[in-house]
């Protein structure tokens, strides 16, 4: 258990220079969520078109883990078919619960760097915040 395993380079990089920050002018989904434990918050905007996540933007205040996870998530979701986006969300949650087999989470890409957060149980919620917002926001949408 070391700080390096928690704050991997890719995480710090996304924290310092988050991707897809901002708002969508007329979003199809707009949802805000917070993590009452440490006060991380996020507002997630999605544009949905032809069964795809055509655009994603977020704004948030919070720790490096929550903000990097949000930034990495936007890169994963953008352009994905909705069903694939949901599968990614499920896979990410499974990884954070420690239930994925070796290489099972690899399709998620860079965000597997967040797996180290599992060793810091109180911080798992930080990593999950953006993903929970996504799942909640698209409930009942196709």
């Amino acid at each position: 258990m070391s700080l390096e395993s928690l704050y991997q380079e890719i995480i710090m990089e996304h924290f310092k220079a988050p991707r897809n920050r901002g708002e969508i002018a007329t979003p199809d989904v707009s949802i805000s969520m917070n993590n009452p434990f440490c006060g991380d918050d996020i507002t997630l905007h999605l544009a949905l078109k032809d069964g795809k996540v055509s655009d994603v933007k977020f704004r948030g205040r919070g720790c490096a883990i929550s903000q990097a996870s949000a930034s990495l998530m936007t890169e994963i979701l953008k352009g994905k078919q909705m069903s694939d986006a949901m599968t990614s969300a499920m896979l990410f949650k499974k990884m954070m619960r420690g239930e994925t087999k070796k290489h099972e989470a690899d399709p998620l890409g860079d965000i597997v760097a967040l797996e180290g957060v599992r060793k810091f149980p109180v911080r798992v919620k930080c990593a999950l915040l953006a993903w929970s917002a996504f799942e909640e926001g698209v409930k009942g949408k196709k």
Binding site: L3, Y7, F37, C38, G39, G62, C63, A64, I65
Partner: protein, 422 residues
């Protein structure tokens, strides 16, 4: 009301020796990842000295029985300890008698008991309750429910940028409509110590009652409910070297006698019929079911322990630690301090280390065995007033030394390096 502290009076002016005090606390002897444990979260809960742990264990080994029930020696002993501690608590806070001392689970339950037992009975639509901007959620939310259910009006004394109450508009806020003024004696976030006696006089001048949340004060300084002018005073054992699960609501007996019980059942009743019951006199009317007897034994031992150190010594020890911490923290680039920088204050240092989020900070410090709190500290309205989502907080107690603060500062500097701060 004269208070007689026994050993406490003898030791009142002796400066604390934190190294010697630390030896009394078994948990502080452990090492975390090979480093000494630096416990800086005493405002959340204090650690427990061996004597308190032993007092509770001894109760279970030698005297365990239910109180006020059995006509046998064991139960009589337990009852004598339980009621004797009530007397001790009364003396500890300068109360004239034990009649006003109600055992509750913690300060939160104490405030809820006032809101239910007194508020629901006596407050009407349009009545005002005056709180402050620096309250813990536990002295906000119970009143929110009364606002919703009874239509009372809530007002708040603002704070200034230094984190002290801004009393300039007090005459507009505290009027004949005000029925209760309720505030913390000391802020769990800022360390501010509020001018309680002055506000009590103001409350009484308009005919309001006066409630003090003493969770962050009773463990750290001499409290005298008489000279402070309190009608209600609440605190928790676990923040003053005692166990979790027991706290105290002291209420002026004339008021307590008029209050409704909040929970009822065994222990609270005089006579029960099929369709109604009559209630016992206070304080037992407010203590339903089997109480936390062993915890009360622990509370009594905790009072003895902190009085043996001397409440005045504890207060000056913490005040100098706070000054030391502020000076050390202010020297770190990017460190933003919250709370009073001068004048009376408690042993709390509330800060942020820009641009690092306090949550990340707490995780990094934990790697060095340094325990600080990060978050909103159950005071979200105060966080909004300070313009932040969360802060880091280091809080001190009898066993804290300047070397704990030095270790925290070293760890903060390592964290800055790790995050690439210049």
């Amino acid at each position: 009301m004269a208070s007689f502290g026994g050993v406490a009076v003898f030791n009142a002016r002796m400066p604390l020796n934190p190294a010697r005090v630390r030896a009394d606390f078994p948990i502080l002897q452990q090492r975390v990842r090979g480093k000494p444990l630096v416990y800086l979260d005493s405002a959340a809960t204090s650690q427990k000295p061996e004597v308190v742990i032993e007092a509770m264990a001894r109760f279970y080994r030698e005297s365990n029985a239910n109180v006020h029930r059995g006509a046998y020696k064991l139960s009589e002993d337990a009852t004598a300890m339980f009621e004797g501690t009530r007397e001790k608590v009364a003396r500890f806070i300068g109360a004239p008698s034990a009649e006003g001392v109600v055992y509750v689970r913690n300060t939160t339950e104490a405030v809820n008991l006032v809101a239910h037992g007194w508020g629901r009975k006596f407050l009407k639509a349009g009545d005002e309750v005056l709180l402050t901007e620096m309250e813990h959620h536990s002295n906000l939310v119970p009143w929110h429910l009364l606002k919703r259910d009874r239509g009372i009006v809530l007002k708040h004394i603002p704070i200034n940028d230094e984190g002290r109450l801004d009393l300039s508009r007090l005459d507009e806020l505290c009027t004949m409509k005000t029925k209760l003024v309720a505030l913390c004696h000391a802020s769990n976030v800022l360390g501010t110590i509020n001018p309680v006696a002055e506000l009590a006089a103001k409350a009484h001048a308009v005919g309001a009652l006066f409630l003090v949340d003493g969770a962050q004060a009773a463990p750290h300084m001499k409290v005298d409910v008489g000279s402070l002018g309190c009608d209600f005073y609440a605190f928790s054992a676990h923040k003053m070297c005692g166990p979790t699960g027991v706290g105290v609501l002291w209420t002026r007996p004339e008021i307590l006698r008029e209050m409704d019980p909040f929970m009822v059942g065994g222990e609270t009743i005089l006579e029960v019929f099929l369709d109604h019951s009559t209630f016992r006199d206070p304080p037992h009317r407010f203590e339903p079911g089997t109480p936390a007897v062993a915890e009360v034994a622990g509370l009594g031992s905790a009072i003895d322990y902190i009085e043996s150190l001397g409440l005045d010594s504890i207060h000056s020890h913490e005040e100098s630690l706070a000054a030391y911490a502020q000076q050390k923290l202010a020297a770190i680039p990017g460190c933003v301090l919250f709370g009073p920088r001068s004048g009376p204050r408690g042993g709390v240092a509330c800060f942020n280390l820009e641009p690092i989020h306090p949550h990340d900070l707490a995780t990094c410090l934990d790697q060095d065995g340094v325990c600080v709190r990060a978050g909103h500290h159950c005071a979200q309205p105060l966080m909004r007033r300070l313009g932040v989502v969360a802060t880091a907080r280091a809080s001190f107690y009898v066993y804290t030394s300047t070397s704990d603060i030095d270790l925290m500062v070293e760890s903060l500097n390592r964290t800055r390096e790790f995050f690439g701060c210049r």
